[in-house]
């Protein structure tokens, strides 16, 4: 960083999440983003713009399902082949349920297959979780029904033994806090708490046990430069693929 980090006065929750994602992606060369993931896509675009500005390594972004931000020419299978070849450094996964061992459930709750609540399905998670080194688990809702002790269905396991695996969970980001994951101990650790939330609230809304430092810091606020890039170039770039989301960002900025 060339300029000292200055804390801006005002930022939205969304802007904090986007800036945090850009920080989590720091150092990667190629990140893939799912079709309906505007906040992760914004984080990736922010990192790309910031690296460009500071003459750092260029960042390649593949947004699945987008025409403008998708350079693949070999059909839907190419992103998976690309990951298997080790050419994708980071990816995002969510889940209706995420448990304390970073297992994720994209299928539903209750007894499979006649689940009480059914979600769309596993998508590519059972593959990409194994092959992308830096998988960021992202879910805005931070509640005991999402962050559970044990998932009802394992779409993709957080850790594996005796199986070839070059990827896995790197961090868990919610609307309330940021956790890191330790695969050796199969446990999350609280890394920071977002502005407006407390450690006790995080504990009360998390259904699994995790490690915590005596006094976890606040998630760093986006600095002025970051906010300027985010509100300018990134919002513009987002509009191509996520017109509705870009509009929401714009109106929030206008109101601020």
């Amino acid at each position: 960083m060339s300029a000292p980090r200055r804390t801006a006065q005002d930022y939205s929750q969304r802007e904090l999440l986007i800036a945090t994602i850009a920080d989590l992606l720091d150092g990667i060369r190629h990140v893939a983003v799912g079709a309906s993931s505007p906040i992760p896509a914004a984080g990736a675009m922010l990192l790309r713009a910031r690296n460009e500005l500071h003459g750092r390594e260029p960042v390649r972004i593949s947004i699945l399902g987008s025409q403008a931000h998708n350079f693949f020419t070999n059909g839907g299978v190419e992103v998976f082949d690309c990951a298997a070849q080790g050419r994708i450094d980071a990816f995002f996964l969510g889940g209706g349920q995420i448990d304390g061992q970073a297992n994720i459930n994209l299928v539903g709750t209750g007894d499979y297959p006649h689940t009480d609540v059914r979600w769309p399905g596993c998508f590519g998670s059972a593959f990409l979780y194994f092959l992308v080194p830096r998988v960021i688990l992202f879910r805005e809702e931070h509640s005991p029904r999402v962050l559970v002790d044990k998932v009802d269905y394992i779409s993709a396991p957080g850790t594996s033994e005796g199986v070839a695996r070059s990827g896995g969970p790197y961090a868990l980001l919610t609307g309330m806090a940021l956790f890191s994951f330790d695969p050796a101990h199969k446990r999350f650790a609280l890394r920071s708490v977002h502005r407006g939330a407390t450690m006790a609230e995080v504990r009360a809304n998390t259904g699994f046990d995790y490690d915590t430092p005596a006094e976890p810091p606040h998630t760093p606020a986006p600095d002025a430069e970051t906010l300027a890039i985010l509100r300018g170039r990134v919002t513009q770039e987002l509009a191509e693929t996520y017109p509705q989301f870009a509009e929401i960002l714009r109106s929030a900025q206008a109101a601020a």
């Binding site: 059909g75 839907g76 297959p113 590519g124 593959f127």
Partner: protein, 272 residues
């Protein structure tokens, strides 16, 4: 070899009990053909979604025509969950073969190559393996201590999709949507609807030929202008998101779904 026929005749190729491969929304979904198929009511279809589906799969489920659903996800995208699918899962209305995207591609690629199975990384430890008993773990024969999943070849009876154009010789432009080629290679018969038919061969120069699926793999072609509506078609038109949202809201109940379907063919014709 590819024959250019009326839409109704193309739809008649889909018969009860067949395994039908359909692409995801970003590849060109044959919605006009789907309405024509629904009119002919083939039953107990085994739908292979490559690798996911949306409104098309949800409609076929809602009409009670799906006996087996093989898919990595069903979603209406920004419009939310697929209501007839969700209801069908609760009711056990079809046999569910949950998958993961690259495993569907691998199964089709195995069929493309004429081999019985393909190995694929990942998946071990996922609950998918508990119900996908057709997927197995084998020992890598070329290395020690390397268990790996194998998925069997997927051989659809029919591949069905919508593309911007065909030429009068039956060659179809698929651009970089290469999974459409994989679907066709793997299937016994391929049915394609197109926006238009061109008089000059798409194979006439190398630039255009690179994105073409040759007539060799295609059985029937029908012209269906705006044939993907309300889903979009790459390089042609965007999705009609208001219409998809309308479907998502109405299809929440069987009655609402029936009411939506009642006027669907007419609105397809109006959209064209």
């Amino acid at each position: 070899m590819a024959e250019i026929v009326p839409l109704k005749e193309l739809a008649a190729q889909v018969r009860s009990g067949m395994r039908v491969a359909v692409p995801a929304d970003y590849c060109g979904v044959a919605m006009a053909a789907t309405a024509a198929i629904i009119a002919q009511r083939p039953e107990n279809l085994h739908l292979v979604c490559v690798p996911i589906t949306g409104m098309q799969g949800d409609m076929l489920i809602g009409e009670g025509l799906v006996g087996v659903l093989e898919t990595s996800a069903v979603t209406l995208g920004e419009a939310g969950g697929a209501p007839r699918f969700l209801d069908g899962v609760r009711a056990g209305a079809f046999r569910l073969m949950d998958a993961t995207c690259p495993a569907v591609h691998s199964g089709l690629i195995a069929a493309q190559k004429g081999v019985p199975f393909l190995p694929i990384r990942g998946i071990v430890g996922s609950d998918l393996l508990k119900t996908r008993t057709d997927w197995q773990i084998i020992a890598n024969p070329f290395a020690e201590n390397d268990p790996i999943v194998v998925v069997p070849a997927i051989h659809p009876d029919i591949a069905l999709f919508h593309a911007p154009e065909a030429d009068r010789f039956g060659n179809v432009r698929i651009g970089r949507r290469r999974e459409l080629a994989t679907m066709a290679y793997a299937s016994k018969a391929t049915l394609v609807t197109v926006e238009r038919i061109s008089e000059t061969s798409l194979l006439h120069d190398e630039d255009s030929a690179a994105g073409v699926l040759p007539a060799l793999y295609i059985d029937r072609i029908a012209v269906a202008p705006r044939g993907a509506w309300p889903i979009g078609l790459w390089s042609e038109y965007p999705a009609d998101t208001a219409e998809i949202a309308r479907y998502a809201a109405m299809a929440r109940t069987p009655e609402g779904f029936a009411a939506y379907m009642d006027g669907f063919t007419r609105r397809l014709a109006e959209a064209a």
